[in-house]
């Protein structure tokens, strides 16, 4: 208990920022806790961390944590983060987004950031709904599920965010949930430490907007659903396909080495300097 209080005092902002906007039982607070523990374990200073967020419930996280924080426009957190990283490569960039934020309005930025491979971490809290605006269906709302704008059931099909990140070329991709907290701590730690573009998709509960409309129960019931439907990625290959039907994998999906954009750019700078020197009479 003593240790937790110390972390909270160090990493959270105190004056005028609380109470937070999240509903009681929201998974966002669990993600913030995991993030703080991961950063603490990595021994990073608060001054060297930039926490950028987009718009929505997840986007509010940047207000509460005591880092260099940026509450960007909807879907654009990664574009701002890209500029910051290019300007100050020594900073550790973490972008926190929601599912609509990262894969709806910001989908283009997300896949290109993964492809480009700047050394930064994208945390996507996937609660399968646009929560802050009142429960409209998002790019990850399951087919047939109910939402404020899908009263008769959702006609669209959901993105699998982590698999999308793998295909787009991210160096490190993992999926966790707000139920599997010790593992989430480790996934965030690995993702932030990874040299390259990291994506951690975190399945979370929005009982207020998603659960209520889909008869999924209270936060505890929804977390139990996460527990029962999560299959460790390392085991998934050995299981019969019908036994994992309707479930999702958790853990590290991809951990691969790709050239880091900024390291590559150093080579460009050296060549350009040489060319400029030769051009001078």
């Amino acid at each position: 208990m003593e240790r937790i209080e110390q972390l909270r005092h160090t990493y959270l902002r105190h004056d005028k920022k609380f109470p937070h906007v999240w509903c009681p039982g929201c998974g966002n607070g669990i993600v913030l806790g995991s993030l703080i523990r991961a950063i603490d374990r990595l021994g990073l200073t608060q001054d060297e961390i930039v926490l950028a967020s987009g718009i929505g419930c997840a986007g509010r996280m940047s207000v509460y944590a005591d880092f260099n924080t940026l509450h960007a426009t909807h879907g654009r957190a990664l574009t701002f983060a890209t500029g910051i990283k290019l300007a100050r490569p020594e900073l550790t960039l973490i972008a926190v987004m929601g599912d609509g934020d990262a894969t709806g309005i910001g989908g283009n930025h997300f896949i290109h950031a993964a492809r480009r491979n700047l050394n930064m971490t994208a945390i996507i809290i996937n609660n399968q709904i646009y929560g802050m605006t009142g429960g409209q269906y998002s790019p990850t709302t399951p087919y047939g599920a109910h939402a404020a704008t899908a009263v008769f059931g959702n006609l669209e099909h959901a993105f699998s965010i982590a698999e999308l990140a793998v295909t787009a070329g991210a160096s490190f991709v993992a999926r966790g949930t707000v139920y599997h907290v010790p593992e989430l701590d480790r996934l965030l730690e690995k993702g932030i430490a990874k040299n390259g573009f990291s994506v951690i998709e975190i399945l979370s509960n929005c009982h207020t907007q998603f659960g209520r409309r889909n008869q999924m129960g209270d936060p505890v019931t929804m977390m139990r659903w996460l527990k029962e439907h999560a299959v460790p990625a390392v085991k998934a290959g050995d299981l019969a396909p019908e036994s994992i039907e309707g479930k999702f994998t958790i853990g590290v999906l991809v951990d691969r080495e790709k050239p880091d954009y900024l390291k590559e750019y150093e080579r460009v700078r050296a060549e350009a300097r040489q060319k400029a020197a030769e051009a001078k009479p």
Partner: protein
Amino acid sequence: MSGTGAGRRVLLQGNEAIVEGALAAGCRLFAGYPITPASEISELMSLRLPAVAGTFIQMEDEIASIGAVIGASLAGVKSLTATSGPGFSLMQENLGFACMAEVPCVIVNVMRGGASTGLPTSPAQGDVMQARWGTHGDHPIIVLAVSSVADSFEITVHAFNLAEKYRVPVIILSDEVVAHTRETFVLPGPDQVEVVDRMRPSVPPQWYKPYADNSRGVPAMAAMGDGYRHHVTGLIHDESGFPTQRGDEINALVRRQFRKITNGFFEIQMTRSFMMEGAQVAVIAYGSVARSAKRAVRMAREQGIDAGLLQLVTLFPFPRKDVDQVLRQCKAVIVPEMNMGQISREVKRVNRRCRIITYNRVDGQLITPEEIFEELGG
């Protein structure tokens, strides 16, 4: 390029001169997306920036481009993006963020004709009002117009200096004629260019308030990573940068953002008078049209017509003080524009003491000196 010493005579096109101006002003990051007729700025930046330890990046679209530009500026690096109409439309959302969070940056819009895809390779001036009011909500902004290659250098330096001094995005409006015409001009040496940098905080980090008011209305700006941890948001915020719903704090922020531009009006207002002495009829023009107007005024003077020219370099805040003098002095004023009349309405708003004649051309052709000369009574 040839010549030695501090200044040297160079032959450049307008887009290239913008690159030279940006580099001279200390710009060290460019993020952009290909678009005609602005692409030369990207291309030259990709070549020049890495050689001066700067960074070039081609983003996935114009939304991302201005996002990266704002991010870089928040991290303390002067940054630029360049585009044309369709891309400028995409930038409006994040342009508003730069206004709200008071992030200095420069956006070049080499205007093309028409709405939508329009006329990609023809001169036009249709984006004037978009530059002022394109992003939603009340916001402060500075808009400058370039009329020549030499201007493209000089005004770009000014644009960066004003952005840094007032913590606002500055829009440079260019057009196809200026962007692609090659002209010689004397490129000043590094020591001859006055460069302004944003005010940094002088207090210890725990005392720093990122949006605190002062006599100029322009708060000191710390770079991310300098130890002044603070929050930056597009929400209406209090002086410590955190979202607020309190009426007194909302009012203070919005009014300060307008006051900082009002306070600096006489410095920001840039115009050029040509043969205005004793002028009875004047042309008020900007961009490449101002050059045709200059020639037309000369032609008129040769015919004994008392003509003059007021060239607007600053379009917003609208240089009403200088325009007012011209309207008081003259019997008639002609406002030729390559649009359906955007600045002429601003001129009419200043006062109606003399006859104000609008002259519009929207067929993708430039306005010739002869056309303006004819309007002057030639």
